[in-house]
């Protein structure tokens, strides 16, 4: 009898463990982060937060009362007229335009008004959309690039164009003003004409591309892939060649400073590649996988790693300082004024603000 009880208990425990594995709990994936002069915007699974940069207090929060399975982790983007565009990867796969200047008090919280929504996507929004003048180019995990007119006044938004690309589109596109460059997990890079929405070229690089493309100082397009190679494209033709072998998968988007591209791989290597000479200037291995893009701050680079550290790295590859933020950092940090914003996972806070020397200014929610 006792062993049967043990068996039954284990069965129920197993059920509980499996149940705990499902659902949109915090930590299912890393959050999306953006900021303007006054507010940080954190897309953190079931909620999107507006956080006051001044003191880290909550300005507002958003969840869709009509879609309790909504999941937000695509980094939000801010339109020129101050709307916040954020897409849900779960539930009804809605793309929202929120108005943080129009707050509605709801009990203890303030919620931004919804200016418009789009509910016609076939899958989730993992990528940030790209704003070009009055148009929004929004890649979806259903393989379609949706194009919206931001000024058409619709509250139930309908795309002015849909471009069927293929695969899962996880990364924000890049543009040179003539074309939109989109990467896909189906191993392809696409160039789409910005005016006609025609696919100008498609190139297969035989490995999935989770990160965004980057336009280099030489006018070439650079893409990192899970083939562990930095690929260089001719934006006119789509002809491409591998210019650098990394140690492992490339996820982060190369960032540009002068002739140099900086990017990291999932083994934790951080590379400085000279696009003009085609040479690797240097590479270092701080600690932990690098999924976040490096960011430029004054005369140095800021780099976050999976191990929860934020590094300030000189352009010669020397570490100037590092700060342990805590948890695991996968989200690209954002600079806002004098603050560096970091959104780690597996910590008791969702967002930390550091000063330009890496000292913590505040956390959100505030530490107890």
């Amino acid at each position: 009898m006792r062993k049967k009880l043990l068996l039954l208990t284990t069965v129920l425990l197993g059920a509980l463990l499996l149940s705990a594995c499902g659902g949109a709990v915090r930590g299912t994936t890393w959050p999306g982060l953006a900021a303007d002069e006054t507010t940080a915007y954190l897309a953190d699974l079931s909620l999107v937060y507006g956080v006051n940069l001044k003191d880290g207090s909550e300005a507002w929060r958003f969840s869709d009362p009509n879609d309790n399975k909504a999941q937000f982790y695509a980094p939000p983007v801010i339109t020129p007229d101050g709307l916040l565009i954020v897409g849900s990867a779960g539930g009804k796969h809605t793309l929202y335009a929120l108005n943080p200047r129009d707050l509605i008090t709801n009990g203890d919280f303030k919620n931004p008004a919804i200016e418009w929504t789009f509910t016609g996507a076939g899958a989730g929004w993992v990528a940030s959309p790209l704003i070009v003048e009055n148009k929004l180019f929004a890649p979806n995990a259903d393989g379609t690039l949706y194009v919206f007119d931001l000024n058409d006044g619709q509250t139930q938004k309908q795309p002015i164009a849909t471009v069927e690309l293929g695969g899962r589109l996880w990364a924000q596109p890049a543009t040179d003003g003539e074309r939109i460059y989109v990467t896909s997990l189906d191993h392809s890079v696409y160039a789409v004409d910005i005016a006609t929405y025609a696919i100008v070229w498609q190139a297969d690089i035989a490995a999935a591309i989770p990160g965004s493309p980057a336009l280099g100082p030489d006018g070439k397009l650079y893409v990192g892939s899970l083939a562990s190679q930095l690929e260089q494209f001719d934006p006119q033709t789509g002809n491409h060649q591998s210019v650098l072998d990394a140690e492992y998968w490339l996820w982060s988007t190369p960032i540009l400073d002068g002739d140099t591209l900086y990017f990291g791989d999932l083994k934790g290597n951080f590379y400085a590649y000279d696009a003009a000479s085609g040479n690797l200037n240097w590479s270092i291995q701080p600690d932990g996988a690098i999924t976040a893009n490096a960011i430029l701050q004054n005369d140095h680079l800021l780099l976050a790693t999976e191990s929860g550290n934020l590094y300030a790295i000189g352009k010669d590859g020397k570490t100037l300082w590092f700060e342990t933020v805590g948890g695991k950092i996968y989200t690209t940090p954002v600079t806002a004024g004098d603050l560096i914003l970091v959104a780690p996972l597996e910590t008791d806070f969702y967002l930390a603000a550091l000063d330009s020397n890496g000292r913590q200014v505040w956390t959100f929610p505030a530490k107890k």
């Binding site: 149940s19 594995c21 999935a208």
Partner: protein, 247 residues
């Protein structure tokens, strides 16, 4: 340690996936067969243990002891252990193999989620779970998650799999239940109860979790039925209504 366990699952699953032409559903089925083959001795031990426990319930000496020490639980427990020793019965022999199924189940669940990589974090974890010297997974991503009418990374929306999972679990449970000859046999009563609760629970899992897990349940159940039948231990009469069973 646990991550290593899940990593082994993922590498084998993806190796099979690559070998058979990139069909994840068939990969899960073949992987389940592999698991069943590996755990075959454990399942055989479970059947042996269950049969030994059943025989004990009908043992005259044990029934006499139960009657004699009905009011002295300590002495009854001592006598029970003595009988176990004398008859070579392992009291955990029938339930240990079932317990081993749970780590396998949870590891498989995590393997499916990571392999299909619906979120960036899943894909990152996949990158940290694979051995690039063993298999060039970068070229396999994204995995083909379509199998028949299902997306293996999502729960099946038509309840078809949940019904099949519940039905096959029920059939398997009933086939393995020996006929209860002793009306006071508590283990038989518990077995009957489990034959109802397990199908409901696994059916609920199939409704809630990715359909790849339901494919595992169904394959595992069918293989279990075949194993019992092949060993001549399937009690087919248990599937009939009580009135139609030969006593």
């Amino acid at each position: 340690m646990w991550n290593l366990f899940v990593s082994i699952f993922i590498n084998i699953l993806l190796w099979i996936y690559n070998l058979i032409g990139q069909n994840f559903g068939v990969a899960i089925i073949l992987f389940t067969i592999l698991i069943r083959i590996i755990t075959w001795p454990l399942n055989a031990q479970q059947m042996k243990g269950a049969k030994a426990m059943q025989d004990l319930q009908n043992d005259k000496e044990w029934q006499a002891i139960q009657k004699k020490y009905a009011k002295d639980r300590e002495k009854l427990a001592q006598e029970q252990m003595r009988i176990y020793r004398e008859k070579g019965i392992n009291p955990f022999g029938s339930c240990l193999p079932t317990l081993i199924q749970f780590p396998i189940l949870i590891a498989l669940y995590q393997s499916i989620i990571r392999a299909l990589a619906a979120t960036p974090l899943d894909l990152l974890k996949l990158s940290q779970s694979i051995n690039p010297n063993f298999l060039d997974v970068a070229k396999l991503i994204p995995l083909n998650s379509k199998f028949l009418w299902m997306n293996l990374g999502q729960p099946e929306p038509y309840y078809i799999l949940a019904i099949i999972v519940a039905a096959t679990t029920y059939i398997q449970s009933k086939l393995t239940l020996p006929p209860a000859t002793n009306p006071n046999d508590q283990s038989a009563a518990m077995g009957q109860s489990m034959a109802i609760t397990m199908p409901l629970m696994l059916g609920w899992f199939a409704l809630t979790f990715p359909s790849g897990l339901a494919v595992y349940f169904i394959t595992s159940n069918l293989l279990g039925i075949v194993q019992y039948a092949a060993q001549g231990k399937a009690n087919w009469s248990n599937l009939l209504p009580k009135s139609m069973r030969k006593e």
